[in-house]
Subunit: 165 residues, 2 copies
DNA sequence: CGTGAAACCGTCGCCCC
DNA sequence: GGGGCGACGGTTTCACG
């Protein structure tokens, strides 16, 4: 997927589209400082190559009736690859689990779950997650307040390439 | 922000735009089953009302040179509101901190951090986070593998409204 | 909410560097 | 190789029924 190398223009495009994914191509091009056609060609190439994976609208969970957000720390009995894969596939099949990250240290996985209410989450927790094979320990932490939620990467840390001229 | 009530069409719009935020308005309208103008009016209204907060391109962190992703569990000395606010504002000022959630239970905050390399993260950890006022305990967990990363809410759990006719 | 019309945009071919 | 210019078709976005 990564045969290409990115130049500064590519990175600026991705920074802009991360900040506003619905920007029109002409506005994107004018912000970058090139004309529309090459800008669109680059965007398409970035999508094809997998550098841009998708575009998502960010919706307000509360307004849609999703009042419950929970982080779940999971420990497994064995961390051998087949068992890991089984657990990961389980997570992918649960719509309520939005993120699943494998970690180092004492806990093996952290899950971010979103549910419409506590009872839906508790049903999931007791009937699905804790009941899944190979799950040793489960610790949950309710989200009281979302203080910051900025998807993506910090483009502030991207170094400019030296001018090629 | 929520004076409006959402109907099924609004929810379908948000579900579609969460799945593909760059869909054209005509395609969106045809998927919903209405014509383009009222569809666009609804999208604009949802944006204005804050139900749709933003649109983001999902970029591949690895390709951009962000190899390090870390979950950080933070305990504070005091959880009084002024100290909480101070800590939250600190998090908002750190670009490396992408998410900051206040939790119940023994840990007070969980942060999701994204950094270009380990040394950048360690500098942040020692010079910024641990050095911040009111921070009592810091535990970090490196992300080994991202097994699932689905932003947004599970629209599978949204109940259809009864037909009004 | 739907129809029509006008302005804008995405997209392609070609030329240029 | 990549960027710019022009033109066509589709889309966005009005005003109106």
């Amino acid at each position: 997927m990564t045969g290409h190398r990115l130049d500064n223009i590519d990175r600026k495009i991705m920074a802009e589209l991360q900040a506003d994914g619905r920007m029109t191509n002409v506005e994107l091009a004018s912000r970058i400082g090139i004309s529309a056609p090459p800008c669109l060609r680059r965007v398409r190439a970035l999508e094809e190559a997998g550098f841009i994976k998708n575009y998502h609208a960010f919706v307000d969970a509360k307004s849609l009736g999703f009042d419950v957000q929970v982080f779940v720390m999971v420990g497994l009995i064995t961390q051998a690859e087949p068992e890991l894969t089984t657990f990961v596939e389980k997570c992918q099949s649960w719509p309520l689990v939005r993120e699943c990250h494998m970690l180092n240290g004492e806990i093996d996985f952290i899950l971010k779950c979103v549910a419409p209410d506590l009872s839906t989450f508790q049903t999931f927790l007791t009937a699905e997650l804790t009941a899944a094979p190979n799950v040793a320990s489960v610790k949950t932490s309710l989200v009281i307040r979302v203080a910051k939620d900025t998807p993506g990467v910090p483009f502030e840390y991207v170094k400019e390439l030296p001018e090629s001229g």
